[in-house]
Symmetry: C2
Subunit: 171 residues, 2 copies
């Protein structure tokens, strides 16, 4: 279960809105910078908060890869979408904070990474809080939009479980 929130966050961290996916950043139109990706992440999070799974998935490329914690790789937006229903539960809130990003010279590939927080409930209504980290790889699509092509999440130490040096085999 620890990996559950991380997993869905990983997915979450990939989708986005670009208001209905209509807005696009074409490499030929403007300089694509780290700031572009940071704005993209904000739009992505806003779309997810406002439109749930649909908003979230609007930021995924059709051939996106999800790398969920505790599970196998998930290839393709169609299969990724099968796990996104929890985003439609208004009790669930996720927020993430990019702390770094970079973009290729040609402005066609980039990545962001950072931390996330999830506040919500499980299917029985039990409150859940989880924190973790993510990395998201973005790629310019043929239609000029930027979409998530890979998203991955893992866990962070929780406030009541202070960080320890758990790196194997130094435990």
């Amino acid at each position: 279960m620890k990996s559950g929130p991380v997993t869905f966050v990983a997915a979450l961290l990939i989708a986005a809105t670009f208001w209905s996916g209509a807005r696009s950043i074409a490499a030929t139109d403007q300089k694509v910078t780290v700031a572009t990706l940071q704005r993209l992440e904000r739009d992505f999070m806003k779309a997810t908060a406002e439109r749930g799974a649909e908003g979230y998935l609007s930021y995924y490329a059709d051939d996106a890869v999800e790398v969920p914690d505790g599970e196998g790789l998930v290839r393709g937006k169609t299969d990724i979408a099968k796990e996104a229903g929890y985003l439609n539960n208004k009790s669930n809130h996720i927020a993430w904070t990019p702390v770094g990003a970079d973009v290729a010279a040609a402005g066609d590939l980039g990545y962001t990474f950072g931390t996330y927080e999830f506040h919500g409930v499980d299917k029985d209504g039990t409150p859940i809080f989880a924190i973790g980290k993510y990395a998201t790889i973005w790629k310019l699509q043929k239609d000029g939009s930027w979409k998530v092509v890979l998203d991955m999440g893992n866990s962070s130490p929780t406030p009541n479980r202070p960080q320890t040096r758990r790196r194997f085999p130094l435990i």
Copy 2:
């Protein structure tokens, strides 16, 4: 502890050898393709197997970011190196298999992702086996070499613990 092997693997998946880091792939010299990154990963793994932490770290950029499972972000090769000593224990063996990769049009940024297996021992000699997934982002450096700028790992279901749909909040 579950995240321990994943963590170090994440780091592991970033270092590499390029035989002592001397060999380089310059974007201006040849076409950088997905095959380039796959070869780079093989060299990286070989260097780690043969030269331990030194081989591993030779594939990290100075400003690399490690995104370890169960811990906070680690920024910079110097701090990442503090956790790499386990690679010098000959009882520890790690292997990874890239299953996908992509590279920017200008050949200056790319990524790989896949699975890994770890067989080894903890500090008390107790056998450990762990499997997981990784994503590694590679960037062309000013000296013409490719180095890991971000590496991240998380866990996979173990053979004796079949994969379940653990994605929150569908548990």
